[in-house]
Structure formats: C-alpha cells, structure tokens
C-alpha cells in the first residue's frame, strides 16, 4: 500500500522533471506558455513537453515556425507584455541565430527601460555531448551566456533540482537561460515532489564532502566527477564535489569556502577550455583565497577544438579517468 511519502513524490528522470516543472507551473500560472519547434503535438524531440499540448492547448503550447530569432524575439515581446514565455531551443547548438535577441534585448530590457519593461522568460535548451548525435548537436557553450550581464544561467544535474530550479527560473522576474544536460536526461531517476517547490538560483550544492580537494562541476559532468571521487576515495584521497547548478551568477561563497577548507581545486566541464567557466572560477579562487592555495586549479575540460563527430566524442568529453588524473595532478603538486 502506498505510504504518504510515496503518494507525494514521483520517481522521475531528469527530462521528466523538466516536463513536470513546466506542467506544475503552467497549472499554477495561466501566464506561463511554452513555445518552440516541435514542442506541441510532438511533445518535443526529447519529450520534455509531452502531453502539455493536450493539457493546455495550442495557445499555451505553441509550435512555432523554424526560426530561433523569431522565437526568442517574439517571446521578448510577450514577456514585456506580461506573459511568461518559456521558449525551447531544440538544441543549444541552434541558439546562435537568436543570440542577438538574447544578448542585445532579453538581457537588457530592464536596464534599457529603467525597469519599466522586464523580460521574465526562461530559454530552455538541451546541451552537451555524449549521445551520438549529429554535428552541431553537442554544444556546451554556457560561457557565452555567462559573459552577458543581465542573464542568469542555470544547469541542473538531478531530477529534483531540475524541477525546483525550473520553477524558480519561471518565477524569476528576469531572463534565465536553462541548459539541460541531455546526456543524463534519462540516465537515472530521482524522487521529485509532486507539488510545486523551488530550488534557489545562484546556490551551489555540495554533492560529496571531502577535505583534500574541491572539485567544481555542473550538469552532465557531475557523474564522471562523482565516479572519480569515489574511486580516489579508495586511494585515500578525500574529494569534495560541488555541483554549481547556476553558472551565472556563481555561488562564490560556497566556492571559496570549500576551497579554503581544501586548498586545492579542479573544475570539470565539457565546454572548451579557453574562455570556459573554469578560468572564471580559477580567477575567483585566487582573488578570494590565494593564501590558501596549495596547487594550481586544474582545468579538466573539453578541448579547444570543435566538438567532433560522435565516433570520437568519448575522447572529447572529460571521463572519470581524465577527472581522476587531473585530481591526482593537483594532489601531487
């Protein structure tokens, strides 16, 4: 027989948690609408909007023409006019046609109107590699958006956080980029409350406490990082793993606090190294805690190359072995 506990949570995959977050917030708030390519009848190419069209109808779950600047540009108009659009970009690699609307307008509407107009909008896009996808389908370019003031950039790594962060993002009065790690869309399940709840934007989560080294990561890279940490534990290396969850603004307090405890750090992301978040995090660490630093911060990242076709993608993505090797380097410095 179902216990109280069981009736109130569901065991969901990450992509199901996306859907559940959208569903929950659309139920609660009539102003929320979902729009994008194939989000309607088809339920999204990853099924992230499955059933929403039947539930909420074509005015709130809108199949748009194939035009990303049009999607984001009209969503800005809608948001300024009082709705809360949640546009989906089918893959992060196809967000660039909308880049101008995102950086020149969504990110600046509040500033540019001194608060008269605002842009409460969540742009969702699956990101990252590892699913044997065709070209341009494996981008991990969160750093582009983290460099634009006026945007928040959220990347969840668990089903629970996904729903809670997505609801926070939808309720946020400003635009939020919500990048979903598609590699782990269905990799595991987690308990997700049926009710609405929020996970705050801008707060990292310590996934594993440790005393020897702090590893900062997010999204799909939390898994190889945790694997590496467990493996290193067998050798007596006690790794703290911090899942950033929001990459802009960064949770500097948690980052610095963890680093002050361990004195060593690595950052793991699949985005290219140069100009990636790892550099920013390293700069923050040495600004705030140089005197604690015992070794260079290791950057364990994608290469400074275009993402390869899938036969080579496993080499491109930081694997547990690469994470482990990087951590060892930092430990042995």
């Amino acid at each position: 027989m179902a216990t109280q506990q069981e009736t109130e949570t569901q065991n969901l995959t990450l992509v199901q948690a996306v859907r559940d977050g959208l569903y929950t917030e659309m139920q609660r708030d009539d102003d929320v609408l979902v729009m994008g390519e194939d989000v309607g009848k088809n339920g999204g190419v990853f099924r992230a909007t499955e059933g929403l069209y039947d539930e909420f109808g074509g005015d709130r779950v809108v199949d748009t023409p194939l035009a990303e600047s049009g999607i984001v540009g009209t969503a800005i108009g809608m948001a300024a006019y009082g709705l809360k659009p949640v546009p989906e970009i089918q893959f992060q690699g196809f967000i660039y046609p909308a880049f101008d609307q995102i950086v020149s307008h969504a990110a600046r509407l509040r500033t540019r109107s001194r608060g008269r107009y605002t842009c409460p909008m969540v742009i969702r896009a699956p990101y990252g590699g590892g699913i044997r996808a065709p070209e341009h389908h494996s981008e991990s370019k969160e750093a582009f958006f983290a460099h634009e003031a006026g945007l928040k950039v959220v990347i969840p790594s668990t089903p629970y956080d996904t729903k809670g962060l997505l609801i926070s993002a939808i309720r946020d009065p400003d635009p939020v980029m919500f990048f979903e790690p598609k590699l782990i869309y269905r990799a595991f399940r987690g308990e997700v409350p049926e009710d609405d709840y929020t996970v705050p934007i801008g707060e990292a989560a310590v996934r594993r406490e440790g005393t020897d080294i702090s590893v900062f990561t997010y999204g799909a890279m939390t898994r190889p990082t945790m694997d590496a940490a467990e493996h290193l534990a067998e050798d007596g290396v006690d790794v703290e793993v911090v899942d950033l969850r929001t990459v802009s603004p960064l949770d500097r307090d948690t980052i610095v606090e963890s680093f002050k405890k361990t004195g060593r750090a690595a950052v793991v992301h699949e985005a290219p190294k140069s100009g990636g978040l790892a550099g920013e995090i390293t700069a923050i660490i040495q600004e705030e805690a140089l005197l604690y630093q015992e070794a260079p911060v290791e950057r364990i990242t994608g290469f400074d190359t275009p993402f390869p076709l899938y036969a080579l993608e496993d080499y491109y993505l930081p694997s547990a072995a690469r994470v482990e090797a990087g951590i060892r380097d930092a430990m042995e410095f």
């Binding site: 748009t64 540009g73 969503a75 108009g77 809608m78 006019y81």
Partner: protein, 367 residues
C-alpha cells in the same frame, strides 16, 4: 475595395505635392487636422534644434527626422489610446504624440539613462538601435495581446534597410502564422545611411514583400500625412476586426525621404546629389498639409503664427529642462541589471564608489 487591397504598385495618395486633393480625404475632425499639423511643425522644429545642439557639443549623435513627419504623425494619429507603438530610433515625432515628451527624447540622445524610461502611461516600447530587432518584439506583444482577448493594434516602425535583416522576415512570418494584430510600418526614406533602396533589395517595392507572409502590403505616399493616416487607420482596424478570411497584419511601405543626414555623424553629400534632395523637398509634407488646411479655411496666417510660437516655446522649454538635468550618479549603471542586485554586481558598485570617494570624481571623468 479596401485601400489595402490596392496593387502594391499603386501608391496611395490623398494630397498631391501642392496640397491639392487627389484622393478620398479621410474623416478627421478639424482639431485632429490642426493637431497633426501642429505636431508635424513641432517635430520639424525640434529636429532642427536638436541638430544644432549636437553641432554645439550639447548633445551626442542624433538621428534627424525632417522630411519624415508626414509618415510619423499621419500614422500615429490613426492609433487609438490603448494601441501600442514600437519605434526604431527616428520616431521622436510619433513618440511625442504617444506620450514620450521632448525632454525625454533629448535626455536619451544626451546619453542619460533617464532618457530610456518611457513614462508609465505611454504605450511605447524603448528605442531600438539594432536594426529590425523590434519587429519580432512587436509581433510578440501583439500576439500576447490577442491571446489575452484584447482588441488592440501594435504598430512597428523600421526603415527600408531594416527589411533586409532576418528579423524582419521572422517577425512578419510569425505575425502571419499567429495572426498577430500588428501593423508593420516601413519608413522607406530611400537610404540606409549611404546605401540606396535599389541596393537593399531587388524587389520592385517593399510593399510586395508582404506576399511572402500571406499578408497584405500597401505602398503609400509617406509625405502625404492624410494618405498615411488613411492607410494606417484601415490597417489598425483590420488588426482589430479582420474580415472573413483576412489576416490581421499589414505591411505598409511609406515612400518618403530624409532631408538631412542619417545622423549628425553622417555627411550625405558624399553619397547623394543635391538635385535629388531638392526633388524630394518639393514633396515636403508640412507645406502640403498647410496648403490643404488653408484652402479648407482651417488655418490662416494668425493660427499658423500662433502655432509657430507654441512650437518654439515647447522646444525651448524642453531643451532648458533637459539641460538642467545633471549627470546621473554612477550607481545608475548598476541599478537595473536585475530586479535584485546580485552580490557581485553590488560589490563592483561599492568598490567603485569607494574609489571615487578616495580619488574624487574627476579622476574618473575624461575631459
């Protein structure tokens, strides 16, 4: 047949170059007619003064509108109170009618953040400097309004050059697909800075681009304020109450000319002939409407002189008020990035204020 259904090659006209009636005069009260005239005069005078402020170093780069008053004033007069306007950067005349005061416009071009704060009662979107980007915004707002069951029209202004941008295409295409109550108003002033209309596109008219979106397109004499009013009015009405099988959006191509430079940073003599400018000056919308109103007995010398005086006073006052505004505080840079200021932004602000405290304001200002 609706004016909008004209063959796009026919250019709608009400007054000819001499202000003689050559088409059906739209139904406008004397007050409105005089109001249009007055607003056109105000826009023109403001424009001349703004250019001279810039020349005197009292204002930054400024985009003049002289020659385009007929299109701006004629079209906004066709809007109702709760309709919306999405300008480019040249519609100070139209924006003024819609509630964005001259002082505000001056502050904007004087580089004050306050210039960007559209008054709460004005249904006007901020100036859009990146070309054509406002078009999808207008479509989105119009679509949102329709989803909410309202019957409002959303007019969006842009230039001939803007029609080459992808955002023009995407914005109009979405409007067609989602039947958004939008009026796309192209101020075809023949030039995009130095690039002539023929280099912008090989299509014969801009109005005919409407066909690509299944919506109506119409070409109007943009220097004939009454023709502009008439065409816009019909488009606005159609946006709110389309006929059977009719889509709401319209593309209006208002054929006109900018008499002056693209902006005060531009020297048009490099790329166009005086002859051309003179030919278009003969179509000046102001004397044209004035001749018509005088002919109708609505205006006479006395009223015109009164208006001249009013207009000069209003502009002088606006300049005085704008120039009295002091440089904003640096904290304005940080104030509206987000609803809640994030910690790192606050720290940057505070650190800067501390430095300013220590070294004095002058250390941070270039002469």
């Amino acid at each position: 047949m609706s004016t909008l259904q004209h063959d796009p090659d026919d250019r709608v006209q009400v007054l000819d170059e001499d202000g003689e009636v050559v088409g059906d005069v739209p139904d406008l009260s004397e007050d409105d007619l005089v109001g249009m005239y007055r607003h056109m005069r105000l826009a023109r005078h403001f424009d001349q003064r703004a250019v001279s402020l810039q020349r005197q170093g009292r204002m930054g780069t400024y985009p003049p509108l002289s020659g385009q008053e007929g299109a701006q004033i004629g079209s906004v007069y066709a809007l109702e109170e709760d309709d919306w306007m999405f300008p480019s950067y040249r519609e100070h005349g139209g924006a003024l009618v819609r509630g964005v005061g001259l002082k505000q416009t001056l502050l904007y071009w004087m580089g004050h953040e306050e210039g960007n704060k559209i008054p709460a009662e004005a249904n006007v979107f901020p100036v859009a400097v990146p070309i054509a980007t406002q078009i999808p915004h207008a479509t989105g707002a119009a679509w949102a309004s329709r989803l909410q069951g309202e019957a409002k029209a959303f007019i969006c202004y842009f230039g001939d050059g803007a029609t080459s941008e992808g955002d023009f295409h995407e914005g109009l295409n979405f409007a067609g697909v989602f039947d958004a109550p939008a009026v796309f108003f192209c101020n075809n002033n023949q030039w995009a800075i130095s690039v002539p209309r023929e280099r912008q596109t090989a299509s014969e008219t801009i109005a005919q681009k409407a066909g690509a979106y299944g919506i109506e397109g119409v070409q109007v004499d943009g220097m004939d304020p009454l023709a502009v009013y008439k065409v816009t009015k019909q488009a606005v009405e159609k946006a709110k109450n389309p006929g059977e099988d009719e889509l709401r959006p319209t593309l209006i191509e208002a054929v006109q000319y900018r008499f002056g430079a693209h902006t005060t940073a531009d020297d048009p003599t490099v790329y166009r002939d005086d002859d051309e400018v003179e030919r278009w000056k003969a179509k000046d919308p102001i004397p044209r409407l004035e001749a018509y109103l005088r002919g109708e007995g609505i205006l006479d010398d006395e009223r015109v002189d009164e208006i001249t005086e009013e207009v000069e006073g209003a502009v002088a006052d606006a300049i005085k008020e704008a120039e009295a505004v002091t440089r904003p505080e640096p904290e304005e840079i940080f104030a509206h990035v987000f609803a809640d200021m994030p910690e790192h932004v606050r720290e940057q602000r505070d650190a800067f204020e501390a430095l300013r405290e220590k070294y004095g304001d002058e250390a941070f200002l270039r002469e």
